[in-house]
């Protein structure tokens, strides 16, 4: 057997094993432990946590809500992200780096602060209500905060740059002569975009969608800050189990489940789209 590829792969494999496989194995083992009381666990090999997960509708509802919201955020991010990505990629503006810098600028600010900032925009005494009242459109503040819509807005705000960057990289790699060539063959600008640019940018769009979907599916802070009582994701159940109920075995069970669910999405997605297609986005 050729040893050289394995030697070259070794650092990556060791890193993945130490940082992903080993911790997840610990989590899997912990899921069989028994929680006796708050913060008191007993080493055991029993299936009550897994039984609860499979038999209790509470967890199924959370999985459904998570998948549903992740799809909504992903679709909206794809639509809203494509436009600025296209603009940045196609602009003749010389300082394009400045636009990219603006795109990554929000990353300098804490994710929690960016999320909290929506309270000042959509809140009762926020900027939007203030503007609408100043314009005379409304007499009393509109209740906009702590709804599913604000949670979606919060997710889009945080995850949109990931989508834009992926699509931008894909668009940037497309030969600039292809669209004009399509035009000379009689295509309208819209047809040229639909039949030439869009298909060629799909790998970037697909990579962005996968990233946004997985990031949304694993979130819990955004619903906690911007959502109402019924706005929660599967990650919030993990937070409840670990931090509020101090039930680590159940938290471990839920964490491992979320990993498997999101992992399954990645695997299914790669089979459907082809991982080799996704890698084209970065060529």
């Amino acid at each position: 057997m050729e040893r050289r590829p394995w030697i070259l792969l070794a650092p990556a494999l060791v890193t993945i094993v130490m940082l992903v496989v080993v911790p997840m194995s610990f989590i899997l083992v912990y899921s069989f432990y028994e929680n006796i009381d708050l913060a008191v666990d007993r080493v055991a090999f029993q299936f009550s946590n897994w039984q609860a997960l499979f038999l209790d509708n509470y967890y199924r509802i959370a999985i459904w809500k998570t998948l549903r919201l992740s799809v909504i955020v992903t679709v909206l991010a794809a639509v809203l992200g494509y436009i600025p990505a296209y603009f940045i990629a196609m602009t003749k503006f010389r300082q394009r780096w400045l636009l990219l810098l603006l795109l990554i600028l929000p990353f300098w600010i804490s994710f929690i602060i960016r999320t909290l900032s929506w309270i000042h925009i959509l809140g009762n005494q926020g900027a939007l209500n203030g503007l609408l009242q100043w314009l005379g459109v409304i007499d009393a503040p509109l209740q906009m905060m702590f709804t599913e819509a604000t949670v979606i807005v919060g997710f889009l705000h945080v995850f949109l740059p990931y989508m834009i960057l992926n699509v931008y990289v894909s668009l940037e790699g497309i030969d600039r002569n292809l669209e004009p060539a399509a035009r000379t063959l009689g295509a309208t600008p819209w047809q040229a975009f639909l039949e030439v640019t869009l298909p060629l940018s799909l790998p970037g769009l697909a990579a962005g969608c996968l990233l946004v979907f997985v990031l949304t599916g694993g979130s819990y802070v955004t619903p906690l800050i911007l959502g109402g009582p019924s706005d929660y994701l599967f990650g919030n159940l993990i937070h409840d189990a670990v931090v509020s109920e101090l039930n680590w075995p159940m938290g471990a069970t839920l964490s491992f489940t979320l990993l498997v669910l999101l992992g399954a999405v990645v695997v299914a997605y790669s089979r459907l789209m082809g991982l080799n297609q996704l890698s084209k986005a970065f060529r």
Binding site: Y58, N124, Q143, P229, V242, E245
Partner: protein, 387 residues
């Protein structure tokens, strides 16, 4: 030394803007400046902080944030640091379960020394989990001024030595906006004000399981320290949930929701409402019959530098310090008013007991509540999410 990250800095700014101390434009400017300053000066500040800490013993304190932390920093920690050369690094937690989770994950108490611990229940939990220290009361002579009635529940759990000193007390009553709810209506409805259907979408609540259960008991006509029908408790919690805009989880969030009129009524911590009233907001406070009273302690975790911790606790219990902190955080001091004269400002605080016996306040009985906590916490988390 005040450990302050960008999130905390933002919260302080947000609170100031809510109070009307800064306008929105200045707020946004300061926010931007804070971000840049954090990025540029973070490394330098960390280095300087490490040098400063090397000069004396460092005590890590974790508390509730907002006006409470500010009162402790200004009136207790800063003077203590100046007097002793030791350093108090204070930070904010969302609840003690967060700290317990961190300690459990780390496997030790490194970086955690003193907690502004809530209630006797948590005292019992820390002790049962093996994190209780043994305070040498001879090093805390000011403990003699603390009310016997407030020490007794702690001593009942650890008769041989205390792990904490009681520091303040308060109540979780009901706050309401007087523009939308009259005093007469609030007093007539009591705990059921939180179930008034006409206020749907303008009602808040503390998302703490024990609190929800306590108020569910009040609303279902039961003695909270002797709940017999838990189904009725959760039915009331569900009724409340369907009317709620937001369950808050911190004092700063509570104040923000009330100050900005996102909600008109909610359970509330007495001191936070007093702070809102001082800022001029039209928020009134009432303790319904059998409303929840609680006491807070300064809990020293096992493995902490005991001599320095005891010195800090004694400093904090000094009448002048304790009274200044009480006035700042708006919660009455644990000092016995029969031994230490209280100021008019403290006498006017909600929940203040001039007798020093605390006989009129209803506290959570840890013997009844602690064994049930695992079950009612899990039950509440489900109810909160529509279950």
């Amino acid at each position: 030394m005040k450990k302050i990250d960008s999130t905390k800095r933002y919260e302080i700014l947000r609170e100031r803007m809510g109070n009307g101390d800064v306008d929105r434009r200045t707020f946004m400017g300061l926010l931007g400046a804070a971000g840049i300053t954090t990025g540029v000066s973070g490394g330098i500040m960390v280095g300087m902080a490490q040098q400063a800490r090397a000069a004396g013993t460092t005590l890590n304190f974790e508390g509730w944030g907002g006006v409470v932390s500010e009162a402790l920093r200004k009136n207790a920690f800063d003077p203590y640091e100046a007097a002793t050369g030791n350093t108090v690094v204070d930070s904010t937690f969302g609840g003690e379960n967060e700290v317990l989770t961190k300690i459990k994950a780390a496997g030790n108490t490194d970086g955690h020394n003193i907690l502004h611990s809530s209630g006797v229940s948590w005292y019992q939990r820390w002790v049962d989990a093996g994190y209780g220290s043994e305070l040498n009361e001879a090093n805390i002579p000011n403990l003699a001024n603390v009310m016997e009635a407030i020490i007794a529940p702690f001593r009942a759990i650890t008769p041989n030595s205390l792990s904490a000193v009681p520091y303040d007390y308060g109540t979780t009553g009901i706050a309401y906006n007087t523009k939308y709810v009259t005093k007469e209506e609030a007093e007539a409805l009591g705990a059921n004000l939180l179930l008034k259907k006409e206020l749907k979408g303008k009602i808040g609540g503390w998302g703490d399981a024990a609190n929800r259960a306590w108020y569910g008991a009040l609303q279902s006509g039961q003695d909270p320290n002797n709940i017999e029908d838990w189904d009725a408790v959760w039915d009331k919690a569900r009724e409340h949930r369907d009317l709620v805009l937001k369950y808050w989880s911190s004092g700063a969030e509570l104040m923000d929701l009330l100050a900005k009129e996102e909600i008109y009524v909610t359970e509330a911590w007495s001191g936070r409402v007093a702070a809102l009233q001082e800022q001029g907001h039209p928020i009134a406070y009432m303790d319904p019959k059998n409303g929840l009273a609680w006491m807070e302690s300064m809990f020293v975790l096992k493995g902490s530098p005991m001599a320095e911790a005891e010195e800090l606790l004694n400093f904090m219990l000094d009448p002048a310090t304790s009274i200044a902190v009480a006035e700042g955080q708006k919660y009455p001091s644990s000092l016995d008013p029969n031994k230490v004269p209280m100021t008019d400002a403290i006498k006017a605080l909600p929940a203040y007991d001039p007798t020093g016996k605390l006989a009129n306040l209803v506290f959570r009985d840890p013997v009844t509540w602690n064994p049930l906590e695992k079950d009612y916490t899990a039950a509440w988390n489900r109810v909160a999410k529509g279950g």
